[in-house]
């Protein structure tokens, strides 16, 4: 089922604009992530698609050819996984999963068959008759997913599905969730503030900021070709290099840096993995800090501008604190992005 949003916006009664007019198109079977910091309107957008929030007049939400803008949530046939999971504590695992099918007034056999199928798919067999309170966080997450998926929804919506879990579990369950969603073969939209999560699970990521989708693309596109400094910073933590751009050269306090092209009116960004400690490098810097992270050192460099620039250094030894080093950045790793007056 395709999902199409046309100028969907939301203003709360107190005048707060939660969502500016937004367009979005999701192909059948595609898994799309809405990525953004808290308060960027991503959850509001998801709730509008679910029918839990009413958008402003003029908004349009379509599932395939079906205009569902004014359809109440209970008739939309969406599957929703809530941040807190919202599992019914008065029902068993099986009762929760069967609930949506019961609402469709299916026969007992049909319900039984579908529930068994979904339980097997989500590997919940050992927990079928457990009470919700007797489940771990990870198990609850799977039950929530199974419950949303069981009634064969047109679209699956997930609101921060991993945020209720502790950090260690989150990484494991991220892979598991990605696998399950692919096996479900369903159009899915999920909200997250964690770029690793978005990249690991989604086919396509829509980055949101201040109630607007600022860029949509595959994880690789967003990483390699961010269109705004916000996307560059939010996806992959790009750092801004301070200095004066003259033609295709950036003049910094630590030296002159070759740019890939002429970039007047542009800001220059780089990621820590593209900053190399290289004796032949054109820039001079002082080692300010060094943190050992197992695979590499994260070295903080001062003298390249007012702000500290970090380098991921893969060598066997960290340079001594306070020592002078030479720094190189390959022109192709530098991102030239239009200067933004209104910094977000």
């Amino acid at each position: 089922m395709t999902l199409t949003l046309k100028s969907v916006s939301k203003t709360y009664p107190d005048g707060t604009v939660a969502l500016q007019p937004t367009e979005l198109h999701v192909e059948p079977g595609e898994i799309v992530s809405l990525l953004g910091p808290s308060g960027c309107g991503k959850t509001t957008l998801l709730r509008i698609i679910a029918g839990l929030e009413t958008p402003n007049a003029g908004s349009e939400v379509r599932f395939g050819d079906d205009d569902v803008t004014n359809m109440p949530v209970e008739h939309r046939k969406v599957g929703m996984v809530f941040q807190s999971y919202a599992l019914f504590p008065n029902m068993s695992v099986k009762g929760n999963i069967a609930y949506g099918l019961k609402m469709q007034k299916l026969g007992r056999d049909a319900i039984e068959e579908r529930v068994t199928e979904v339980i097997r798919l989500c590997q919940l067999e050992p927990y079928v008759d457990r009470r919700i309170t007797a489940l771990s966080g990870g198990q609850r997450q799977r039950v929530a997913l199974a419950r949303a998926f069981a009634p064969r929804p047109r679209i699956l919506l997930l609101d921060e599905p991993l945020s209720a879990l502790d950090a260690a579990l989150r990484v494991t369950l991220r892979e598991e969730l990605a696998g399950l969603l692919r096996r479900f073969n369903i159009t899915a939209l999920f909200v997250t503030h964690d770029q690793d999560e978005a990249m690991a699970i989604a086919d396509k990521v829509a980055v949101m900021s201040h109630g607007k989708v600022v860029q949509t693309g595959t994880p690789e596109e967003l990483y390699r070709n961010p269109k705004t400094s916000f996307v560059a910073g939010f996806v992959g933590h790009a750092m801004q290099l301070e200095g004066q751009v003259r033609g295709s050269v950036l003049e910094m306090s630590g030296g002159r840096l070759e740019l890939p092209r002429a970039g007047d009116d542009c800001d220059v960004y780089v990621r820590a993995e593209d900053v190399a400690l290289d004796e032949a490098g054109p820039l001079k810097a002082t080692v300010e800090s060094s943190t050992f992270l197992g695979t590499h050192y994260r070295v903080g460099l001062s003298g390249l501008g007012a702000r500290t620039i970090f380098a991921n250094h893969a060598g066997q030894k960290s340079p001594a604190l306070g020592s002078q080093v030479r720094v190189a950045m390959h022109p192709s790793a530098l991102m030239l992005l239009p200067r933004e007056d209104d910094r977000s």
Partner: protein, 267 residues
Amino acid sequence: MRPNAFVQLCFLPLIIFTLAFLALPLVRLFVSSVSGEDGWSIYWKVVTTPRYLDALLQTVFVSLAVTIAALVISTTVGLFLARNEFRGRGMILSVLTLPLAFPGVVIGFLIILLGGRQGLFNQITSGHVVFAYTMFGLFLGYLYFSIPRVLLTVMAATEKLDPALEEAARSLGAGSFHVIKDVIMPGLAPSLVAAGAIAFATAMGAFGTAFTLATNIDVLPMVIYTEFTLSANIAMAAALSVVLGLVTWLLLVIARSFSGTTAAAGG
């Protein structure tokens, strides 16, 4: 979620019932109080006629005495039960809270069994110790139904006190007396004020106990009752009810602003 007509529908039975049996009757009660021959001046009459004023003062006096006694007793017992574990503690707690559901009439009867003509004290002393139908008997009756309510409030509040505060006070060298004075009592104070207000308001309005014991004592509920049934002075009965209702309601509102919740009134 969209504005939900169903949620509004849920209020409907409540609103119909409350309008019909609470709002309108209360309005009617007030209207009755001022539509006698005295009109609005009936409220002036309440505070100037000695009989009504005496009854009012007498009721306030006995309620105040009950409140103080109930607070002292319940705090002593409540702290003892909350801070000590021993066999039979649960049993004692049951004994002390069971009277919670006894109606006022039953409590009146129990006081008669203690201090009536065939009462325990009269039998033991074989003298003439009959106090059931006096002010003291009424005081005991009110005390009987106040103790469980105040006790429950005190114990709930004691359980919420952080034991670390007491331990801290002790570690700084405070003895039992100072721990109680400087740590426990300030912690309990809001609950005690609330419980006291409830005890006071309940005693002010207690009818059942007064009905059995106060045949010769003019407390406000009995005055209202006789004005209504014997003298058929509807306006005065209504006016006194309005005064009584306002006083008890205000007290409980103040009590709630101290503690957040109030236990059951009644009696």
